[in-house]
């Protein structure tokens, strides 16, 4: 449920860093807690996001929740398929249900995130 090659935030986003670009999504724990996701508000292409700051909104049938950027940088890709069909996040949160790609400002920020084992402990699994 929590792939080893990803890094995790305490606000339940994951990041996968490859060549200075982080793919970001919502963790399995988050999608499961939210339930059926029906709406996503993601930053626009080119937007600057800051680690720990709000960068979007996810709404399930029963609740709205803010999304926080796990890392700082510039949004270079947005998953339009997920905004069109937010249920993708429920179905495949680490795959087709990714949210945005961020060109990182400082790759070392990733060290502030949790490993899979640390995240699992954090959510009590």
């Amino acid at each position: 449920m929590y792939p080893e090659d990803l890094s995790y935030s305490e606000t339940h986003e994951w990041a996968k860093v490859e060549g200075g670009v982080a793919t970001v999504g919502l963790t399995d724990h988050a999608q499961s807690e939210l339930g059926d996701i029906v709406y996503l508000e993601l930053p626009e292409l080119g937007a600057e996001v800051k680690a720990g700051a709000e960068f979007g909104v996810v709404e399930s049938v029963k609740a709205a929740s803010d999304l926080y950027a796990p890392l700082s940088g510039k949004v270079v890709e947005v998953n339009d398929a997920a905004t069109r069909e937010p249920a993708l996040v429920n179905r495949d949160c680490y795959g087709d249900g990714w949210l945005v790609k961020i060109q990182l400002k400082d790759s070392s920020e990733v060290e502030n995130l949790k490993t899979a084992a640390e995240y699992k402990e954090f959510i009590g699994e």
């Binding site: 339930g35 709406y39 709404e59």
Partner: protein
Amino acid sequence: MNKAIKTPLYDKHVSLGGKMVEFAGFFMPVQYSGIIDEHLTVRENAGIFDLSHMGEVYVSGKGAPAALDKLVTNNVDKLKLGKALYTPICTPEGGIVDDILVYRDADEKYMLVVNATNVQKDYAWIKGHLPKGLKVEDKSLETALIAVQGPQSETVVSEALSEDLGELRYYEFRFSVLDGIPVRLSRTGYTGEDGFEVYVDGERAGEVWDVLFELTTAIGGVPVGLGARDTLRLEMKYCLYGNDIDEHTTPLEAGIGWTVKLDKGDFIGKGALVEQKGEGLKRRLSGFVMVDPGIPRHGYTIINVDEKNIGRVTSGSYSPSLRANIGLGYLDLPHDQVGTEIFVTVRDKPRLARVVETPFLKLIGGK
């Protein structure tokens, strides 16, 4: 802090993978397979619900019909035996103390089904406003309530009881026996679909659940949590106490004026409601559909095109049946007119919505 109460079916929910939450002092399942799936299955087939958190208060004794008629806004002294009735209880100011179901069990005996959040308040209110000679008993904790709702619910329930239910009409009930267990079977619900509510002694609830659950799932039905219960009722514009109605709103404003019989004798709140009707309403609980993205939620403010505050959202959700975002809110007149463009403030941004006719979903609602 009081600890939340487990209904007699708590272990069933946990073993079915229900996600348990605290609601009105009870541990209740908010969902099992998912709100959308559960919702659509009720609309198309059948679903089974544990509603044991609801309260049951019995009122009996000489003069009960006339006394109760003074307590509630609808006509309960004319209610026929074997029938149920939906009615508000009002404050002298016309605000809603609770919205309840009244069952007439005998000439001078009624069962009142009250909202879980209001059991203690209602019990005190009822006891305090009825003549001393009447017996008022709170049997909430010993009574379980299981609902089967959906177009296939009659198949499920008639098989469980080995009874033909064709003669049991909407808002009628009978005492019956399910697998040797005495139950009250009522053709009522909160979904807009045909459906049944089965009241049973808490100690036998597990057995009744097992029979109904097996028959429901055998035809493709599912267990349903409070999440889908909320979206199902919202599509029908059924009011949720604490959200859409409370002591600061009246039945006339809430659009349930049909439950207020101003032509009957005196009842608590009558004066205020007569006056409100005479003066005309200033606001009305209205339904709207979002045109812009975003889901309206309880408490969001509603503004008009001139950015003037014209109301607030009382309930809102994604509607699984309509695949749209819908909401209810009190709108200052004349903004309640169907077709009016309004703006719901979603995370500080005005989002366009349009006032629509309600119920959002056109269903016949039972038999």
